[in-house]
């Protein structure tokens, strides 16, 4: 609007790109900046876990099964662990019961039993397989799971997996959505029609069904999960980018780029893309959140990461059985950890949108 006189006084600082101004705005937004710090801390931890600096021994069984968190050692439900003495006692009770049984039809004598020799040998050898490792802990900071693995270590390792899946999946989805959306919006015409048809068909299938179908066909593993999620979640970005490119291609600065002789590719990715970059950043943070949750759901349903890996979803999948017995710590730890990250990521997305959008001031 050329003739309004309400323009705010010009900024005092100089040589500032819009990106730098956005960064400064984000710094001033306390909640946004806190969220950024939290997300940053998660990323660092995940990086450390991924590179093996921390939580590389998450598979070690360091505590008694279901050892409670240290703080709740007194009040938590106790897991009854059967040691050798218990088994011997039970055995003895069983033999005496068998001996008492006058009919004698149930037992086999040592001569008649075909496995007797093997059993005796096994019993003799069992002495040398007795665990000689360090004593298992009675309690851990965040407790232990069914096999006595440290929940804290699992959590760290799980964060690394979940973030890795979420971020790579989001990046891949973003790349697919951006390229297709840019082509569709920029060129329009028949290409746009074709891509829009594809998009419509794709989105008419329920997301979860598509996700499970892909997952069922392609087997387990992190790579599969990432691909599956990227292939199902590019649609939102596609729609957004198509609309943006459609809008921007008619803008004067793009026409000006055409006038100075810039080709299609240059106009699309050198001129327009940086101007819709803030939307991509917001889209990225929202997609990451969504994919972290999707991963949890997939793993919970058993289509997720492999059995030799741990993720938040895989940990949650153990929760139903544990909760029945009253072992709440693993689920609580995962839930809190995940909620914090998801909330921080969402707040960050909000703040980013405010900070980077050149129009909102």
């Amino acid at each position: 609007m050329p003739h309004t006189s309400t323009t705010p006084p010009a900024a005092q600082h100089h040589h500032n790109s819009l990106t730098r101004i956005g960064w400064r705005r984000l710094r001033r937004d306390r909640i946004g900046f806190a969220a950024l710090c939290i997300v940053g801390a998660y990323l660092l931890l995940a990086l450390a876990a991924w590179s093996g600096l921390v939580a590389s021994h998450w598979q070690d069984e360091v505590a008694h099964p279901y050892a409670p968190p240290t703080l709740f050692a007194g009040t938590a439900p106790h897991h009854l662990e059967l040691d050798a003495a218990d088994i011997d006692a039970a055995d003895r009770r069983a033999t005496s019961a068998a001996a008492l049984d006058s009919s004698g039809a149930t037992g086999l004598s040592a001569d008649e039993d075909p496995l007797a020799a093997d059993l005796a040998a096994a019993q003799q050898q069992s002495a040398q397989y007795r665990s000689t490792g360090q004593a298992r802990a009675d309690s851990l900071p965040l407790g232990a799971d069914q096999r006595g693995r440290d929940v804290l270590q699992k959590l760290l390792q799980g964060s690394a997996t979940s973030l890795q899946v979420g971020i790579t999946g989001a990046l891949l989805a973003l790349a697919i959505g951006t390229v297709l959306g840019a082509l569709s919006g920029y060129f329009g015409g028949l290409l746009d029609d074709l891509l829009m048809w594809g998009y419509s068909v794709f989105t008419s299938v329920p997301d979860m069904l598509l996700l499970l179908a892909f997952a069922a066909v392609s087997g387990r593993g992190i790579g599969t999960v990432v691909l599956v999620m990227a292939f199902t979640s590019w649609t939102g970005t596609f729609r957004l980018m198509r609309a943006e490119f459609l809008k921007h291609k008619g803008r004067e600065y793009v026409r000006a780029a055409d006038a100075i002789g810039a080709g299609h590719g240059r106009r699309m990715f050198h001129h327009i893309l940086p101007n819709v970059g803030h939307l991509l950043l917001v889209q990225f943070s929202m997609l990451t959140v969504a994919l972290i949750k999707y991963e949890a759901i997939l793993s919970f349903l058993g289509f997720g990461v492999g059995v030799t890996q741990v993720s938040w979803g895989a940990m949650l999948a153990e929760a139903p059985a544990e909760l029945l017995q009253g072992y709440w710590w693993q689920m609580l730890a995962v839930t809190l950890c995940m909620s914090l990250l998801v909330t921080a990521f969402s707040l960050l997305a909000d703040s980013l949108r405010d900070a980077l959008d050149p129009k909102v001031k």
Binding site: H3, A259, G261
Partner: protein, 570 residues
């Protein structure tokens, strides 16, 4: 002084805005003025002068957050201080006793309600009338503001009306409750000249008929001269001059007022260089430059010849629907001489901008030939076209939109050189970019800045510099100065003129402003609905227009105070 107290008096109004760093900046610096009942007071100033802020302060429409009105400011309306009035009182006043008309009629009307609905709403909120009575009154109002078939227009939606009709509806809403004060904030800036004249006449008529007071806000002194009783000239939040309209035009006291009056191109004169504000605010006396003669000469060489150019727009209805064809440019022919300027004039929708785009092949032409030194540009393959593209360049209307906001000035200026292989390495290109920047009057250190750090006029200079980096021979200026303030417009026009003198550029100057076109053009082409209605040497065309449409356009130019057509030397 006045026997009756004024309807509205503004006393020591001081408004400051706080930017995102918390730095305060004063937009209005303690101004005082009165609006007598039944009179028209015009508030004139350039962008940033604080005129719109003043209007918003009167209606209390300023944002509460980040905006501060000094405690001792007073705005008395009928004896009540509006600045301390309760929300209830304000709601009753706004739209009732005080009504407003804004610049953009399209965005001021709600697109999902019919116009009748919107007028009826205003009526029922402020007067105790039934729906039926309100409907009848709304029809009467639409008739009063001169809409054809008001009965049917009641049920139309804003997008079905033209810009002028929308503004008429806005005015109908504003006068619906017989306001005592009508605030019109640049009500005609978004409209074509002929429509502008009609709307002004309508406002003047209504003002007399209803005895309203009008606060008319505009950047254009010439417009105000036809209409206002008193003029308040604002600059940087201060009042520079407040006087009856006759005195403003005949004997302006303030240097800034004089400058404003003079820096706008005039139909009767064509100085070699337009005066700018600085000429008047400095100590030195301003000397009238010599007049410049215009017109094609016999020994001019042709650089561009356009023959029967047609451009069609196709719109599609649904996936399987048919195509609809709209001819935006219809058989336009002209020749442009080397080193000369051809002005293209027309109202919105006349196809003048489409013509410019088609010449650049930014828009596909459907018929005709564009001979650039005997080579048909429209027949070139994209590869051959690349070289020609360098030689014909365009400066767009909106300098806020035509520069990529994510690029620094250095990137903006070096990119065309990179694409066309000018300069052998990055360092040399940067050096050249700096040279061109200095050429258009900006400091070399501006290279590191980004477009948003510049004002509109500076951005337009950058856009011009971007074209110049490619050493073009033809420059198409598509409304290039229309979005600028008059003082900045004069500077950019002077720049264009000196570049033409120095580099021998040929201009196609597209504009809706006939005075600006006259100032710069040797020959003028008048377009109406895609057709060329008149093509003649500038002086001939303005002195003796042949086509009725040209005459209509010329009549609609705001003349200012009638005696001011020949301003005396200051």
């Amino acid at each position: 002084m006045n026997p009756t107290p004024p309807l509205l008096s503004v006393r020591k109004l001081r408004v400051s805005f706080r930017d995102e760093h918390g730095h305060g900046a004063e937009a209005v610096k303690g101004i005082s003025f009165d609006i007598p009942a039944g009179k028209t007071v015009a508030l004139v100033g350039e962008s940033g002068s604080g005129k719109s802020v003043t209007a918003m302060a009167i209606t209390r429409l300023l944002p509460e957050h980040g905006c501060h009105i000094a405690a001792d400011s007073e705005i008395l309306f009928d004896g009540r201080n509006l600045l301390t009035a309760s929300r209830r009182e304000l709601r009753r006043l706004r739209g009732g006793d005080i009504a407003m008309v804004f610049q953009e009629p399209m965005s001021s009307l709600n697109p999902v309600y019919s116009v009748g609905e919107q007028i009826i709403e205003t009526l029922m909120l402020h007067t105790r009338v039934g729906r039926k009575a309100a409907h009848q009154r709304a029809v009467a109002l639409l008739k009063e503001v001169g809409l054809p078939t008001p009965d049917r227009k009641m049920s139309s939606y804003p997008h079905q009306l033209s810009g002028g009709q929308q503004q008429r509806v806005m005015i109908a809403m504003a006068i619906a409750c017989e306001p005592k004060l009508l605030i019109a904030d640049e009500p005609t800036t978004a409209l074509d000249v002929t429509i502008q004249q009609q709307i002004l006449q309508l406002l003047a008529g209504l003002q007399k008929k209803h005895g309203m007071a009008v606060l008319f806000i505009s950047h254009d002194l010439a417009l105000v001269g036809q209409f206002a009783d008193e003029v308040v000239v604002m600059h940087h939040g201060n009042i520079h001059e407040h006087a009856p309209v006759q005195q403003i035009f005949e004997a302006p006291q303030d240097a800034y007022t004089k400058a404003l009056l003079r820096c706008r191109p005039h139909l009767a004169q064509r100085p070699a260089r337009l005066p700018v504000i600085k000429d008047f605010l400095g100590d030195s006396c301003y000397f009238e430059p010599p007049q410049r003669q215009r017109g094609y000469q016999a020994d001019d060489r042709v650089i561009l010849e356009v023959q029967g150019l047609c451009v069609d727009y196709h719109s599609r209805h649904g996936w399987f629907g048919g195509h609809e064809c709209h001819r935006a440019v219809d058989g336009v022919s002209f020749t442009l001489m080397r080193g000369r300027t051809l002005g293209i004039v027309g109202e919105s929708g006349s196809g003048k901008s489409t013509l410019g785009l088609a010449l650049m092949r930014l828009q596909q032409a459907s018929a005709g030939r564009v001979l650039f030194e005997d080579e048909d540009m429209l027949a070139l393959t994209p590869r051959q076209l690349r070289d020609y593209k360098r030689r014909i360049q365009i400066v767009f209307q909106n300098p806020y939109a035509s520069l990529n906001p994510r690029f620094s000035v250095a990137q903006i200026l070096t990119e065309p050189m990179l694409l066309h292989g000018i300069g052998c390495d990055a360092a040399e290109r940067l050096q050249l970019a700096g040279d061109w920047l200095e050429h258009v009057g900006l400091p070399r250190k501006a290279l590191a800045k980004y477009p948003h750090e510049f004002s509109g006029g500076q951005r337009q200079r950058i856009a011009i510099a971007r074209c110049l980096t490619m050493h073009p021979e033809i420059l198409i200026c598509d409304e290039s100065v229309s979005a600028l303030d008059v003082s900045v417009q004069a500077q950019v026009l002077n720049l264009l003129q000196s570049l033409q003198d120095e580099l021998g550029l040929s201009y196609l100057f597209i504009s809706h402003d006939l005075a600006v076109v006259k100032h710069l053009s040797d020959q003028v082409l008048v377009m109406q609905q895609g057709r060329c209605v008149e093509l003649a040497d500038a002086d001939t065309l303005y002195a003796a227009p042949q086509h009725p449409y040209t005459r209509q356009l010329l009549d609609a130019i705001p003349q200012g105070w009638p005696h001011c057509i020949k301003p005396r030397v200051a």
